[in-house]
Each structure stands twice: as structure tokens, then as C-alpha cells.
Symmetry: C2
Subunit: 429 residues, 2 copies
């Protein structure tokens, strides 16, 4: 059993590097990477760190030298033999050889490309540029390094005893959440908390707590390294970067309008079953579903990742009904801004009407609110594709507070995708 | 930093014996032992374990062989060189050489005498008989062995993870209590929780939590071993066994009526300052104070250990006033059935009227209520002198539920000490 408080107190990045492995990343990054490796290997992209929580002045908290050491350490990582064996030999979503030999050969020799780091206005400008399949693998390590360096910066000032109390409280808090979740009959929930975790050891502990406390209701973790270590399911499908980059590559408005479906057509070719999950919100859920080709309504389910989640699920249910599908056979995965109350509420409202599932992120792996004042409270850090082959990417989302891209391009996308007024939701994490 | 959950999980009595040292005992036992060694060395006494919580069937929970191993281990203990040095060289209550050389020489060669153990009706009958100064030193080890074997019996059935959550919760709970106590201005509080502790490591942790959380408001611990280890004050004065044995030795009713004052006269000769604390409730506080000699009203303070504590303190205040003493110069130590609320309440009522101090026991070192169902809830175990030179001892207390002794003797004591009706208080711990 790891005594987290002691380890954190004694931590030294040389023995406790933040990122220990190339598969200390979300499973869907690897699935998408393989898809990109197959379909768009030569696309050049830029990813950039974006701290939506301006009040958290990362560059004032974190030493630039330490950040560089951690990032350099990540660049030195390569897939270990055991990790390769696990990816090649494991069954994911009931399927063997999810990762094809050509992809695995490439992945085994892959090293993460260079990064570009500057300080500006109390924030770090951290960008990555290069071939899409490589650059995109920076997203999660970049986030976890920044998140954990911030935690460590705050923890550094605390005594051994304070640390022990801190973790005792965080453990008790999570356990109380789990005890509430345990009472939800038919619950299905997975850990999606890698990117916003307090730290690696803490996420690993949270996953064990979920395993122990929820049994079969806990369906797995998005983190491959932890899935491997704890012998549980690796969970995930696809994310916004695919439609964002496909859209940026479009040569005309007509191609742009088709781009999100093009992504899913490529995916359709590659995957079936529970991997066929629609992420509809990149350019507005309502319009996306209205114009969707019929084969999409046959997909297994939908992931609701922005906007009011109940509204999103109702839209999906109506859409399936209109397309002659029985929503009770469809899966709705909620993955945005969840905590126990929201999970209880959504489960109560949708269980029985659809198959409900939850991807629980920040409030699972980083709920330290109030435990060191607000100095350890989670904050909203993302690492996104900002351009592809030199053209800016755009995200509209179902929440205008999550939109990104240059104003003129945002206006163009809104026109092309027919997005009107949207209800703004506060982005906490 | 000790990871208690891991240690408990791996515990093995040979490396984690329950009693590690002869000074893993309350400081007042050593003070009383020296007083007995000087004044009544040849008295023969019997001590017996009494479990007031009949529903906790110790002999069903605890293996007799394990109990014998632990008790035999205690019998093998002798004062270590470092412990002897600490007792001889330390300053207690501002006084050097509290323990006289002749007592220390005797203590260094002392081994605990034989025990007698039987099982009856799901309980252990555990008795000790012999010379008073030796037998009396069994009290605390006997209690801590039984308390911790009961904890271990419950913990044995729990997984590593469950244990971690258990201790995380108990730690969070104590820390919340400490945070409440921190808000009481002028608080003075000590650990009196050795005898009812969940376990040794846990008490040690609780003491560190009090140190860290309360600073100077935490005045010390009654546990000598922990006081030595953590370099803090050892706290305590005297207890009921002195008047109980002195009373049993009385040859007449007149001598009996004088016995409690005789105890304090011997104590008066030996100690001054903060060690002159009256424990008035053995045969009823009210009568004891009414008939007390004037020199007793000059003593530093009073310890309230049974009955309603506010009533006890009001009686003491009135008594000092009647004897022309200013209560504001007097110390009242509350030491019975305390938890945070009671401490807040008593402090609010008496601070400023007297000097207030608290000896916090069971709810400091053994509050596991509800954390493993009620299987770890504290219970009321005592180890008392039941006879002296072949005569039964009697205790009346300010709470008839704490009274002990044969019925005819209780009646005689009530008559001699003029004790009438008493309000019964539930004895939880």
C-alpha cells in the first residue's frame, strides 16, 4: 500500500517523475492516434496549452526549470516491452488486436517531439508542433505535468502532518461519494480523470477506491497505465480533436459541413460495437444530429460533453426516436462537469429510457476543494489542437464558454453549421 | 511517518507487541506507585478487570492464547536504561527528581507479578494479586492489551483498502474535533486516553495531531512512553485506588471516615503545586468537601471525574468560596466522558470563574464509532483494586452506575460518608 502523504513529502522527480510511461495517457488518445496514423499521418498540427482559469497563475507557482525537467523526462520515454505486450495482447471492448501491428511498430519507436515553452503574464505558453500522430500524444502528459507540478508547488509548503491530514480528508471525501454512488442501482461509471488529476499516485488510489467500493458498477479507467497495473478495463473512444482537425483541413464550406461526418465514417470503417460512440457537440449537437446520415443513428450511443447534459440527452433521445431507433437500446455517456449529485440526478432521469453511463473526471481525481484553502482546488486546463496544416482550428461546443478559434473563423463555422444562440454554462473544470 | 493502516494490516505481535514498555502507562500510576512504595509497601491487593459493557463479549472476540502471549510479554518487560534516565533526569511539573533514588532502584528491578485468567460467560476474568506497588502497575497494560486485542480482532477481517479508509476517516474525524477545539480561546487540554485507546500507534498519532493542531493549548499526555518519545509533558496526579485501598484498610468506621483525607495528607507531604489536585468523588464529592480539613482548600485544584461535571464544578466553587478562597486562582480539571461539545460547553461556563483544564480520554484516542458498524465503538473496561489485605474495596462515586463493592459494604460506606440519593448517569466509556 502506498502511503501517499509520505511519498508526496519525499517526492523527488527523479524517483517520482510525474509521467512514468507513454501509456500513462487516456485510452482514446491511442485509439485516435491509430486512426490518424492510418488516415491522416502527414498532417501537421500545433497543440497548445490553454489555462481557462486565469486566476491560477501557473508560471508564478511553478518553476520553469522543474517544468522543463519533467517535459524532458517525458520526451525520453518509450514504450516498454510490457506495455507493448499489453497493448498487443489485451482484449479491449471485447476485441483482440485492437492495435494493428503496423501501428504498434511505429508506436514502439515513437518519441515525443520537441516542445516550445515561454512565460507570459504569469502563464506558460506551451506549444507542440509537428506530425499529428506524434504531437497529439503530448496532450495528456502536458496536462498531467502541469496539474501535478501545481499540486506539488502547493504541497511543498506543508508539513508531514498536514499532508497526512490532507490526504486522509481527501480519501474520506471520495469514499463518502462512493458510498452515495453505491446506492444507485444499475450504475455504470468509469474514471475519466487522468487529465485533471491531482497527481498520478492519487489517481491510482482513486481508481482502487472505485474498484473496491463499486465493484461491477465501476467499468474501468481511461488511463492505460493504471488499467494495465490494476488489471481493469481501459475505457474511451474519440474526442473533439478529430472533427476539429478534419474541419480545419476542409477546402470549402461544403467540405467543412461534411468534415464531422467524415471523421465518423473513418471511425465506422475501423470500429464497431461500444466504440461507435458519437461525440456530437464540436459544432453544436442539435444541427449535427439533424443533418447526420442515417447510418449514424445505428451507432451504439452518444457522449454528452458540454452544454446542459439533460438537454443534450433529451435531444439525442428525440433524434433516435425520429430515426426509428429505440432509445432504450442506446447508450448515453455523460462526461462533463460531473459530481455525485449530478450523477444521481441524471441517472434518476434517464435510467430505463436509455442505457446510462458516466465518465467521471475532475471531481473524482482532483477534489481537494477547501482542503488547503483553495490553493489545491481544480482548475480548467486544456491542451488543444489550435491549427492543422497552418490553418486555425475552431470549436463551438454546446457551451459558448468552451468555444475556441479566431473570431472570423468562429463566425464562419457558426454560419456553416447553423448554430444560433447558445446557453452559456460556467466552466469550472 | 507511520502508515498505521499498513502496520495494522501486517501486525504481528512479535514485532508489534501491544505494550512495548513499562512506562507505556499513565504518569499518575508511577506517582501513586512511588507514594504506595513509601507509605504502604506491604499491603496485599487484588486488582480485577471489569467490563461494564456486557454486550461486548471479549472472550468470544479475543483468542485466549493471544491474550496470554501479550500478557506474558508484558511480564517480561523491565525498565530500559533510556526510560530510567528519562524518569530520573526529567523535570515533571517543574520539579527535578520527582522520582526518588530508592524508588527508581526498586522500579528498575521490578517485574510485573503473575496474572490469573479464566473465561466465564463470554468474558475474561483477569485478576492480579500481590504487593500493592507491583500489582497496581498491571492496571494500564491489562486495559490496553484487552482494548487493542479487541480492535485487532475486528480489524483482522478487513481488507487493506478498508483499513486505509477506516484510518483516513478516523483521522479526519479527530482533525475536525481539533479544529473546533482550536477556536476555544485559552483552552488547556491533555491526552488522558491511554487506558481506552484503540491501539498504541493510534494514540501516538492522536497525540501528534493534538500537538500539531493545538500548539500550546495541548498541555501534554498522561502516557509516559509517548511523552518521552514526543518530548512533551507527562500529565497526571492521583486516582481512586488510593482512597479505595486506604478505606478498605480502615479498622473502624471512624478510621474509614478519615481514610480519604489520610491519602491526601500523605500526598501533601510528598507533593506541592500542580500535583496537589483533589479527586473528591470516591465517596461522594459533596460530603467529602463539607468534612474536608482546611488545609485541603489551599490545594491547587480539583478533578471532576464522575457525576454531572457542571454540578461538580459548581459544588467545588461554592466550597472554595465558603472556605474564603478565590475560585479564580483554583484549577478545575474535567476528565470524565468528554467530547468536543461537552468541552466547549464546560469551557464557556467556567472559564474566568476558575482555571479550567481538560483531560480528554476515550473520545480522543478511540472514537471509531460507526466506522466499522459499531464493532470498533469504545466500551467501558476498567481494572480496579477489588480488595486490600483480604477486605473488599468500595467505590461510591458521584454516579451510582460507577459504584462498586459488596452490597453490605456499599451500605456501610454510604452511612459513614453520609451519601444520600445520587443522580445516575449513563456510563458510556
Amino acid at each position: 500500500m502506498v502511503d501517499i502523504a509520505t511519498r508526496v513529502h519525499n517526492h523527488n522527480w527523479k524517483i517520482d517523475p510525474i509521467v512514468r510511461s507513454l501509456i500513462d495517457t487516456d485510452f482514446y488518445k491511442l485509439l485516435m492516434c491509430q486512426s490518424i496514423f492510418r488516415n491522416k499521418p502527414d498532417t501537421t498540427v500545433a497543440f497548445s496549452l490553454i489555462n481557462r482559469s486565469h486566476s491560477v497563475r501557473l508560471a508564478d507557482l511553478i518553476d520553469e526549470g522543474e517544468l522543463r525537467e519533467q517535459l524532458d523526462h517525458v520526451r525520453g520515454l518509450s514504450l516498454s516491452r510490457g506495455e507493448s505486450t499489453w497493448l498487443r495482447g489485451n482484449t479491449f471492448y471485447g476485441k483482440r488486436q485492437m492495435f494493428r501491428p503496423d501501428f504498434m511498430e511505429w508506436f514502439e519507436q515513437m518519441r515525443l517531439p520537441a516542445y516550445h515553452l515561454e512565460k507570459r503574464d504569469g502563464q506558460f505558453e506551451l506549444t507542440f508542433e509537428g506530425r499529428w500522430p506524434e504531437v497529439m500524444l503530448w496532450e495528456i502528459p502536458a496536462l498531467t505535468v502541469l496539474m501535478e507540478l501545481r499540486s506539488r508547488a502547493v504541497l511543498k509548503g506543508m508539513g508531514k502532518f498536514e499532508l497526512q491530514i490532507l490526504y486522509a480528508r481527501a480519501m474520506s471525501r471520495l469514499w463518502e461519494k462512493i458510498e452515495r454512488l453505491r446506492r444507485i442501482e444499475g450504475l455504470k461509471i468509469a474514471d475519466f480523470g487522468t487529465r485533471r488529476r491531482h497527481g498520478f499516485l492519487w489517481q491510482d488510489w482513486c481508481v482502487q477506491a472505485m474498484q473496491e467500493g463499486l465493484g461491477d458498477a465501476f467499468t474501468g479507467t481511461s488511463n492505460c497505465r493504471i488499467a494495465m497495473k490494476r488489471d481493469i478495463e481501459a475505457i474511451g473512444t474519440n474526442a473533439h480533436e478529430l472533427p476539429m482537425v478534419y474541419a480545419a483541413l476542409a477546402e470549402s464550406d461544403a467540405e467543412l459541413a461534411e468534415a464531422p461526418y467524415r471523421v465518423l465514417a473513418d471511425w465506422h470503417e475501423e470500429h464497431d460495437g461500444n466504440l461507435r460512440i458519437i461525440l456530437p457537440d464540436t459544432y453544436g449537437t442539435e444541427g449535427f444530429l439533424k443533418r447526420a446520415p442515417d447510418w449514424l443513428s445505428k451507432w451504439t450511443g452518444i457522449r454528452i460533453d458540454s452544454g446542459d447534459p439533460a438537454t443534450g440527452a433529451e435531444i439525442a433521445i428525440r433524434w433516435w426516436q425520429e430515426r426509428g431507433e429505440d432509445p432504450r437500446n442506446k447508450l448515453v455517456i455523460f462526461s462533463d462537469g460531473l459530481d455525485v449529485e449530478k450523477i444521481e440526478e441524471l441517472h434518476a432521469r434517464f435510467a430505463g429510457r436509455v442505457k446510462v453511463s458516466f465518465g467521471w473526471g475532475t471531481m473524482l481525481t482532483n477534489d481537494f476543494r477547501g482542503l488547503a484553502g483553495d490553493r489545491l482546488a481544480p482548475f480548467s486546463l486544456v491542451c488543444k489542437a489550435i491549427s492543422a496544416n497552418g490553418r486555425p482550428t475552431v470549436k463551438l461546443s454546446d457551451n459558448p464558454n468552451k468555444a475556441m478559434g479566431p473570431a472570423d473563423e468562429v463566425a464562419r463555422y457558426k454560419r456553416v453549421f447553423g448554430v444560433g444562440d447558445q446557453a452559456a454554462q460556467e466552466v469550472v473544470v
